[in-house]
């Protein structure tokens, strides 16, 4: 276990060094996220121009929801499915198999360093918005429950990593798994509550979404932050998230064991 932590930490440091070197790339990535967020804020501001409350939420609650949903996505969705899928398809995975530790270690740790770097920039901006922009627009950010947010965020990150890695493993069996990986990214956008809060869906759709693990990656952490998931509900959410981490972790381990046996690398 100690050995694993040392290896993960080493990959994390390599990733951090790389991303500190390419600071411009990280800043552009943050800016891209802010632009996407900006479009959604314009959309919701327009909707709330004629409505005081939509789906039981005020404009302030919606803006805070999206602001932290984007922050949560930064941590929980490190977009590894496409990267892993490409490495398998191109045969480059052999390099990763030869590295110390499990083949997935570097895919987990290196992007995480970039995400933490982005997270720092985004949190600074969120703080700036909380202190300066929100009061000037007459919006209230409310009481935020950070410990619950962080706990669910860590579990959400693990769920998303295992789910992404399971999807990426399809590349062991299908020559071009690109479209599956893109579909996965689109589908999780809606199932995680990133595009629109889950409470906005009709009851049958909500029930289906609540049964799946993706809500733990964005919706539940943000609702816990806003205090909408608390007490018993929070406990249930944490227990279910832990269940999904173990379930997906086991499926992932099984698929990768079978997949790497099939893997056929050509080259030097």
């Amino acid at each position: 276990m100690k050995q694993w932590i040392i290896i993960l930490w080493a990959y994390f440091k390599i990733g951090l060094a790389k991303h500190f070197y390419y600071r411009g790339t990280v800043l552009i990535s943050v800016l891209s996220k802010l632009i996407s967020l900006g479009f959604l804020i314009f959309l919701w501001s327009k909707i709330f121009q004629s409505e005081g409350e939509v789906g039981g939420k005020t404009l302030s609650q919606i803006i805070v929801y999206y602001l932290f949903a984007y922050i949560a996505r930064t941590i929980t969705s490190p977009n590894v499915a496409t990267i892993i899928g490409e490495r398998i398809r191109d045969g480059v995975l052999q390099m990763y198999i030869l590295r110390p530790g499990h083949v997935l270690f570097s895919f987990f740790s290196m992007p995480l360093s970039k995400r933490l770097y982005e997270l720092l920039v985004l949190l600074s901006l969120a703080l700036f918005a909380q202190i300066l922009i929100f009061p000037s627009l007459g919006l209230s950010i409310g009481n935020l429950h950070y410990p619950a947010f962080i706990l669910l965020l860590i579990l959400g990150m693990l769920i998303n990593f295992f789910a992404a890695s399971i999807i990426a493993a399809s590349a062991f069996w299908i020559l071009d798994s690109g479209p599956i990986l893109y579909s996965y990214s689109s589908v999780t956008g809606i199932l995680s509550g990133l595009l629109v809060p889950i409470s906005f869906f009709p009851s049958w759709a909500r029930k289906t979404i609540e049964f799946l693990p993706f809500r733990f990656t964005i919706s539940d952490p943000v609702l816990a932050l806003q205090g909408e998931i608390a007490g018993m509900k929070l406990l249930t959410s944490v227990v279910l998230a832990i269940f999904w981490v173990f379930a997906l972790g086991m499926i992932n381990s099984l698929l990768w064991r079978k997949g790497t046996k099939r893997f056929d690398a050509v080259g030097n």
Binding site: Y22, G24, T25, I28, S29, L31, S32, K33, I35, S36, F39, F42, L43, S45, K46, I47, S50, E51, V54, G55, I174, L175, D176, S177, G178, P179, I180, Y182, S183, S186, V187, G189, I190, L195, V196, F200, F201, P202
Partner: protein, 260 residues
């Protein structure tokens, strides 16, 4: 001209062969495009369960916007975007020298070799058909013609936009994030134009004309704006191409070979 058409025909047949060899991948790609559009429709339908209109746009208008925007992106990817993407990816490896050696204008070469048959699988067409058959729409003939003109002008505008983004490769070593950044900006085209403040509406219609591409064809079809806007769209498209060509020409002068 015949020479260019021959090269274009070769690029198309090569791309079609590629798409048909990997039939499973082609089918999955088709499915993805369909799912992607469906997700965007779901996003708006979830909002429309709570409200009747967004900035004067009802669900039918937004449904059409999502579908038209999807078809437009398919066309853009199919006709040229893969070429610009590959150019940006390969530039730092010194591969531009090989393009310069071709007996053709480099910008034209990048555009026509960027043909990507798989992207225009027609996955969004069933949704367009659904809109025509089942949604309450009535389109006058003149509006249909005007919308098609604006749609085509939109493709030209995107060509110009991505040519300008690609020309940044001559100035910035790693310009891939800039390409991603331009994708983020163009994401605005999938929202109704009326959600934005007036100043942004003007900027995104006339200066960085991303609203021209999907919003205006739908607005013309749904009679929210006059069909005469098609003339403005043609002028914007020509203007964009001229600017893109000048920027490309200026940038290419800055190029010094990286390979031996």
């Amino acid at each position: 001209m015949i020479h260019i058409l021959k090269v274009y025909a070769k690029a198309i047949s090569f791309s079609v062969a590629q798409a048909t060899i990997f039939r499973t991948a082609f089918f999955l790609f088709y499915l993805w495009l369909f799912v992607d559009t469906l997700i965007k429709v779901l996003f708006f339908s979830a909002i429309y369960t709570q409200v009747n209109s967004i900035g004067g746009w009802n669900f039918t208008d937004v449904f059409l916007l999502v579908v038209v925007n999807g078809i437009l992106w398919d066309m853009v990817w199919c006709l040229f975007l893969s070429g610009f993407e590959k150019f940006i990816e390969d530039f730092s490896k010194g591969n531009f020298d090989f393009i310069l050696l071709k007996p053709m204008n480099p910008l034209l070469y990048i555009t026509i070799t960027g043909f990507h048959a798989r992207s225009f699988s027609g996955a969004r067409l069933p949704l367009l058909l659904y809109a025509i058959l089942f949604l309450p729409i009535s389109w006058p003939f003149l509006n249909i013609i005007a919308a098609i003109i604006v749609f085509l002008a939109g493709i030209v505008v995107y060509h110009a936009l991505f040519a300008i983004v690609a020309s940044l490769a001559f100035w910035i070593i790693d310009s891939e994030p800039i390409l991603d950044f331009s994708f983020s900006i163009t994401e605005g085209s999938r929202f109704p134009v009326t959600i934005f403040p007036k100043a942004l509406q003007i900027i995104f219609t006339f200066i960085i004309p991303i609203f021209l591409v999907a919003n205006y064809p739908v607005m013309i079809l749904q009679q929210m704006t006059s069909p005469s806007f098609a003339l403005t769209a043609i002028l914007i498209a020509i203007g964009s191409e001229v600017i893109a060509f000048l920027v490309w020409k200026f940038s290419i002068k800055h190029y010094s070979s990286a390979s031996s």
